[in-house]
Symmetry: C2
Subunit: 103 residues, 2 copies
């Protein structure tokens, strides 16, 4: 039971898995792109969630010397180990939608 | 991306996956047992989360005619389809603990 709690302590909340899957899907992703990918998330919430994911060694943050400056995120090797869970959650989401609203 | 959001809309929060894994592990589980399994959850929060899981057709609720009355929960077939995700989250939780605190 504790191991599941460890996972959920890192991944809990409505947004983290969606943020990780956005970065995971494109391998490298800028802040503004993630903001578009994850429907409904605010700028402030995204910053907070990204910081927590960084603290948990799931992503790295790179500042690109562009005009204006852009910040890019990438999964660490540890972050990539979530790929299977993300795929399973995607499949399950489709199955759940079918079960609940039948389409 | 939407499919992941569908999953997380159902499973979000710190407790749901732990509640499901408690019921899943024992196949049938009483309210008081789940309360003990899921460390830190309050009586009120557990009631709310169980209601949401029931609404999403993941569990069923049975009132047993005992003295005092007991309420028992069981996974539906749809709920059981979460087994793979729960196993993966358990494995990942162990891996994450190793990565972060090295034991």
């Amino acid at each position: 039971m504790m191991a599941i709690q460890d996972s959920m302590d890192v991944l809990y909340g409505k947004w983290k898995i969606s943020i990780i899957s956005s970065i995971c899907f494109y391998n490298k992703r800028r802040f503004s792109d993630i903001l578009n990918d994850v429907v409904g998330i605010s700028n402030k919430m995204l910053s907070k969630e990204l910081k927590e994911l960084e603290t948990n060694k799931l992503i790295t943050r790179t500042v690109l010397d562009t005009q204006p400056i852009t910040v890019q995120y990438q999964l660490t090797e540890h972050g990539k180990s979530l790929q299977t869970i993300i795929n399973n959650l995607t499949d399950w989401g489709i199955k759940h939608r079918l079960e609940i609203i039948g389409k």
